[in-house]
């Protein structure tokens, strides 16, 4: 049993691509080894900015010998066919074949023994193929070579069983990159070549050459250093997993250093400071005991220096000063312009070529927010309209131009400085939310109105121009928008008729033209269906069954999500009870019989049964029960007493059971039979009036 160690050493791999690259390399290699009959116990990967490493443990010394049986032509086939078969099987004469009767005739069978090759010989082309097939999200050519890599590839360390593999990667033209057992340490701290015999040797030698190949180890180390460094100043580090991942991919030898933020900048909003530090400089922000941003930052360097990082810290502080004086400039300048004065600038920003400018979008959102405000309890209509009008006004500001991720947040600050009501300021900041399933959902009425208006406007607009999400493609984040709208509605218990709301939103696009050819009805129906799909996803986590959502939604009249959810939950209680399960079985039985007989007769049995034609008491009882309970159920549904409505349906269980026990539907008397089929179809109709029972799955997972 032997080990393969592979290291692909290149110029700096972008941090964001490293983890994926390690997975891809492992997958490629694993698939190829298995295909070659080389099975192993364990594979592990490491990745740094300069190296992508894979270790395969306990590979056999050679491929297993394989015996393969191949079926040939029928005995007595033309000679050409037989010769072809012999050639492909590597045999000289039919005497080496077995003749076997397969039941469909006598055929030649050849048995081919394939001797397994030594692993070292098989590995070499596999390593080359892995390199050639590596799926980098973006790759490049370099010099005059044709072999692409993420950045120039410099060497391929490939050690098997203690020695470098024989072989080379063709790089294009006459250039090859021979496999080696040598690598290099840290670019500055230990640039000498090292020779490696196996993975433990590799890990030890790299560590003494100031490289930590394992990203998990670097990540842990960085975080520990950050916390220690912060603790010394009585501070805590602001948790930032994304940043931690990124800096892990920017260093081979992490050294955390602390710098100071000039006091003059501490008057700038903390979001600005942290964003500037994070996006431009990849610094961690620190907090004091009260959660207030501290005038310190942490930088993760890739260097140990003789002066313990003094020059590095001084340099980083200087860079940050320049960055923050820029930010401070924007902060001061932006305050001189009122948000309302920035509105004309929105007319110059295209929202989407076919959906007009941001200025137009804002006018639509304002109208929609005003409309929604009337439907949201406790919402001040004028505040909602004003918040909607100003919601995008911070986009042309200097600060948001520099830091787009501060959109909304800056708007809130500027609105506050202008003295606008806090409800308006908050709505400006929060109207982008919720940004995902875990993001906080706005609950303040004005914020809800604007957040909903913004999302619905986008959804209606993009659906109208047929830019719907398809498969994994959702360039305008419409799934997120729909989920956001659903959360805003459900979490705030908003009673909205979505059809009307979508229709109102759609009318906002009329003045722009370009839409006339579309039917608002079609767009609205598509959008409702899209919402139903999103709702299934959203409610799945709450244990609500997707088939039940479909069952209620299929009625086609339900566009009030709050009511829809209540109906679905009541339905779920019913179908998960014993009576409900029974009812569902009866429903299936009834509708199956009706369907089959209708097909047979080429007739329909819709419509009421005639009580005069009942011959057995169970028929009359069922007829009466259906009449009564369906009326009660529909009345209760109308009153939104969904649980009670379902309760009345479950009262149908006994009469239906009795009917099936005692009554033969297919009576020889055609009149009796037709009447009984009508009764069955009434069962179907009664239940379908509450939910489309045909969509309910028998044993759907909960």
């Amino acid at each position: 049993m032997s080990e393969l160690l592979l290291e692909l050493f290149s110029e700096e791999i972008p941090a964001r691509m490293q983890a994926r690259a390690a997975e891809d390399l492992q997958r490629l290699m694993t698939d190829k080894l298995h295909a070659a009959g080389l099975h192993f116990t364990l594979a592990r990967t490491y990745v740094t900015p300069r190296r992508l490493t894979l270790v395969i443990e306990e590979l056999p010394a050679a491929q297993p010998d394989v015996r393969e049986e191949r079926k040939g032509p029928r005995v007595g086939s033309p000679q050409a066919a037989i010769d072809g078969f012999l050639k492909s099987a590597g045999l000289k004469s039919v005497k080496e074949c077995e003749e076997r009767d397969t039941g469909k005739g006598v055929f030649y069978f050849a048995t081919i023994d394939k001797k397994g090759q030594p692993t070292a010989e098989v590995l070499s082309p596999i390593v080359t193929e892995c390199i050639q097939q590596m799926p980098w999200p973006k790759s490049m050519r370099f010099a005059d070579l044709t072999q692409r890599w993420v950045r120039p590839l410099h060497h391929v360390l490939a050690v098997f069983d203690g020695a470098a593999l024989a072989g080379a990667v063709p790089m294009g033209g006459n250039t090859t990159l021979a496999f080696t057992s040598r690598t290099r340490g840290h670019r500055f701290l230990s640039p000498v070549e090292i020779n490696v015999v196996n993975s433990s040797d590799y890990l030890i030698k790299l560590k003494s050459a100031k490289v930590i190949p394992d990203p998990k180890e670097r990540r842990t180390l960085i975080w520990a250093q950050c916390r220690d460094r912060a603790l010394k100043e009585g501070l805590t580090v602001k948790q930032d997993e994304g940043l931690l991942d990124e800096v892990t991919g920017l260093v081979e030898w992490p050294v955390v250093l602390m710098g100071k933020i000039d006091q003059q900048f501490m008057t700038v909003p903390p979001e600005v400071l942290t964003t500037s530090m994070r996006t431009h400089q990849k610094y961690f922000a620190l907090q004091d005991k009260n959660g207030k941003l501290a005038a310190r930052f942490l930088v993760v360097a890739n260097m140990d220096t003789a002066d313990k990082g003094a020059q590095i810290i001084a340099g980083n502080e200087r860079v940050l000063r320049a960055r923050l004086s820029d930010a401070m400039f924007f902060w001061q300048q932006d305050q001189k312009v009122r948000l309302g004065e920035r509105l004309p600038a929105l007319n110059d920003i295209i929202f989407h070529a076919r959906l007009g400018t941001l200025g137009q979008k804002v006018r639509r959102i304002e109208a929609l927010a005003r409309h929604l405000a009337g439907l949201i309890p406790g919402c001040n209509v004028d505040q909602a309209a004003q918040a909607a009008r100003l919601a995008k006004a911070d986009l042309p500001s200097g600060m948001v131009g520099e830091f787009p991720e501060l959109q909304g947040i800056m708007g809130r600050y500027y609105a506050g400085i202008e003295g606008l009501a806090p409800e308006i300021a908050d709505a400006i900041a929060d109207h982008y939310r919720p940004l995902g399933p875990t993001d906080l959902c706005p609950s303040a009425p004005v914020s809800v109105a604007v957040a909903l208006a913004d999302k619905i406007d986008s959804l209606v607009g993009f659906f109208a121009i047929d830019e719907k999400p398809t498969g994994s493609k959702d360039p305008f984040a419409l799934r997120r928008a729909a989920l956001g709208a659903i959360r805003l509605i459900l979490e705030n218990g908003l009673r909205l008729k979505l059809r009307d709301v979508f229709g109102f939103a759609y009318s906002g696009f009329y003045d722009q033209g370009g839409f006339e050819q579309n039917q608002p009805k079609v767009v609205i129906a598509q959008l409702l269906e899209f919402f139903a799909d999103r709702l299934k996803v959203a409610l799945k986590e709450q244990g609500v069954r997707h088939d039940l959502i479909a069952a209620v939604f299929a009625l086609g009249d339900e566009d009030d999500l709050v009511r829809l959810r209540a109906r679905v939950k009541a339905l779920q209680d019913l179908v998960e009870s014993e009576a409900g399960a029974n009812l569902l079985a009866a429903y299936r039985r009834a509708s199956n019989i009706v369907r089959i007989e209708e097909k047979k007769d080429g007739a329909t049995y819709d419509g009421a049964a005639d009580p005069a034609k009942f011959s057995l008491p169970e028929e009359g009882k069922l007829f009466k029960a259906l009449e009564q309970e369906s009326q009660i159920a529909l009345k209760r549904t109308a009153n939104e007493e969904f649980v009670a409505a379902m309760g009345s349906l479950s009262n149908l269980r006994a009469p239906i059971d009795d009917f099936f026990d005692r009554v033969t539907v297919n009576d020889p008397d055609p009149a009796l039979r037709a009447n009984r089929l009508r009764l069955l179809s009434t069962i179907r109709a009664t239940l379908n009036a509450v939910a489309d029972f045909s969509r309910i799955e028998a044993k759907a997972e909960v």
Partner: protein, 310 residues
Amino acid sequence: MVRRTMTKGGGEMTGRKPNPETCFQNAILKLQSYWSKQGCVILQPYDMEMGAGTFHWATTLRALGPKPWRAAYVQPSRRPKDGRYGENPNRLQHYYQFQVILKPSPADSQDLYLGSLKALGIDPMAHDIRFVEDDWESPTLGAWGLGWEVWLDGMEVSQYTYFQQVGGLECNPVSTELTYGLERLMMYVQGVENIFELDFNGHGMSYGDIYLQAEREYSEYNFENSDTALLLQHFKDAEQECGALLNGAQPLPLPAYDQCLKASHIFNLLDARGVISVTERQAYIGRVRTLAKACCEAWEATQRIPTGKA
């Protein structure tokens, strides 16, 4: 245009002693000398207005075709929109780039680059030098490449690119392009926080002494005084001339490319003046790109002819 009034503006060298060793012009001399030793042709700046050193024919055009090429030069770069009337310590509408082009990209280009930093007196053992992903794309040139920005203690001091396409044409072989932002780099080396305080010649002349007035005047020109109607006409003229030079019996890619540069700069001036709307903007960029592509194609065609015959 909002005038920036945060700093004193100024330009005096605040108490620091002039130092002929670390002064601005000496950095240029050091870089020229270093890259000269690497076999680069040391060119003088191209005598046309352009937004970056990449636009110099020595990079854009010479990156195309099969012939090896190594060049280094300073290129004054003009970005009319970045002007701040000399009142921002970090922004200029006219600044210097030091540009290096190495074709084909050498296997040791990172070491060569680090060697140039050492030549400037930056000791890699005392600093934190990093190559951070930054892919480059120029919609105006129809060009793109992969590479990094180089960080020196958190400061971006160079742009490092492996050209993949220029003028819509595949680069084969691929070149390494190195661009040093000289002002920023030298502010770092000199420990200065205001561009205008940079020690220019080591004998008492600051960057501000030389360029502050120009920054004020050009900012005013770029933002307030340029004649829009005239510029629009000039743009059309350059576009027309470029086409004519390429479509004649004997295409003249080099003079045609001059017209492309002109059009590009005029577009930048119009953009700074704020007279180009968002939609028009894309259209103008597209028009310049069309010129650049045509020049690149015409140039590349001349490169295929075996040397000596042309």
